[in-house]
C-alpha cells in the first residue's frame, strides 16, 4: 500500500475501461425489458444490482478487518475497516437512490416498506453510524474498538437482506436470488456479469484509496503528537 506501484494505476485504468464497456453494452446492445418491469428504466438493474453486491463486498471487508482489529489491533486493520465502512455507505446510497427511481416506473411508487428495501436501508444506516462515529467521536483506542464491534455486528444484517425476498415476499424482484433464471436474453446476463466485474474493481479501487488515506492520516497524527511532545510548534 506504500510506495510507487503500477498496480493502482492499472487497476484504475481497468475500472474505467470496464465501466465504459458496461455503459456502451447496456445502452446499445441489451434489449429493453417488459413494461411491467419498468421498460427502459429496467436498465438501472445493471448498475443497481452490482452496486448492492459491492455494498456486500465492502460490508464483508469491514467485518473481516473489524474482527481482525478486535483480535489484534493494528493501524492497517483499523484503516481498512474504516475505508470499507465508508465504501459500504457509498454503494448503499447508490442502491437506495437508483432503486426507488426504477421502482417509480415498475411499481408506481418510489418507496415501499418491502422486506428487502427495509433491511437494505437498515444496513446502510449501520454503516452510516460507523462512519459518523469515527468522524466525530475522536480517534482513541476505545472509539476504534467500538467502531470495529459495530462493523462486526452490522454485517450480520447482510445475509438477512439477501434472504429477505425469499422468506418474506414483497415487491422486490427475485431474478438473481431465484437462481438467475429471470433474465430473458443472454446479453442481459453478460451485462450483469460485466456490471459485477466493474463494481468489484471500483470497490477495490475505492477501498484501496481510502485505506491509504486513513493510514497516512493516522501516521501524520502520530507524527504531530510526537512533534508536540518534543516541544515543536506545529
Amino acid at each position: 500500500m506504500h510506495g510507487k506501484s503500477a498496480t493502482f494505476p492499472a487497476l484504475l485504468l481497468a475500472t474505467a475501461a470496464s465501466f465504459v464497456c458496461l455503459i456502451l453494452y447496456v445502452f446499445f446492445k441489451v434489449p429493453t425489458a417488459q413494461l411491467a418491469a419498468g421498460g427502459i428504466t429496467q436498465k438501472v438493474f445493471y448498475f443497481h444490482v452490482p452496486a448492492a453486491y459491492a455494498m456486500y463486498l465492502s460490508g464483508v471487508t469491514c467485518f473481516v478487518a473489524s474482527g481482525a482489529y478486535l483480535y489484534r489491533a493494528t493501524p492497517t486493520r483499523n484503516a481498512l475497516a474504516q475505508a470499507a465502512a465508508e465504501c459500504a455507505v457509498v454503494f448503499g446510497m447508490m442502491v437506495l437512490t437508483s432503486g426507488p427511481l426504477w421502482a417509480r416506473k415498475a411499481w408506481g411508487v418510489y418507496w415501499t416498506w418491502d422486506p428487502r428495501l427495509t433491511t437494505s436501508m437498515l444496513s446502510v444506516l449501520v454503516y452510516v453510524a460507523i462512519v459518523v462515529m469515527r468522524a466525530f467521536s475522536g480517534n482513541g483506542e476505545a472509539e476504534r474498538k467500538f467502531a470495529a464491534a459495530l462493523g462486526v455486528l452490522g454485517t450480520a444484517n447482510l445475509p438477512i437482506i439477501h434472504y429477505s425476498v425469499q422468506k418474506w415476499g414483497g415487491n422486490h424482484p427475485t431474478v438473481i436470488t431465484k437462481g438467475g433464471g429471470g433474465l430473458g436474453d443472454p446479453s442481459m446476463y453478460y451485462a450483469l456479469y460485466l456490471g459485477f466485474f466493474a463494481m468489484t474493481l471500483l470497490a477495490i479501487v475505492l477501498m484501496w484509496l481510502r485505506t491509504r488515506l486513513a493510514l497516512l492520516s493516522a501516521q501524520c497524527a502520530a507524527a504531530e503528537e510526537a512533534a508536540l511532545s518534543k516541544g515543536l510548534e506545529i
Partner: protein, 78 residues
Amino acid sequence: MFNQAPSTTDTSQRSTEFQPVQGGEETTSGEALLVAAYLVMWLLLLFFVWTSWRRQLGLGERLGRLEKALGRPADGQG
C-alpha cells in the same frame, strides 16, 4: 418505444366527461427516471472521490506544517 393505445377516428368513442379514478395510469417518463438514476449514482461516486481528494489536500497541509516545524523543506513538493 412503448406500446401506445391505438388512435381512433371514431368520434363516438371520445370521452364526453372526466371521472376521477384511484391511482390512474402511469405517466412518468422511463427515460427521465433512467437518466436520473445514472446521474445520481455517478454524482455520489464523484462526491466520494472529491472528499478523498479534499482529505488528501488536508493531509498535505498537515505534513507541510510538520516539515516546517522540523525545520526542513518538504520533499517532492513544488
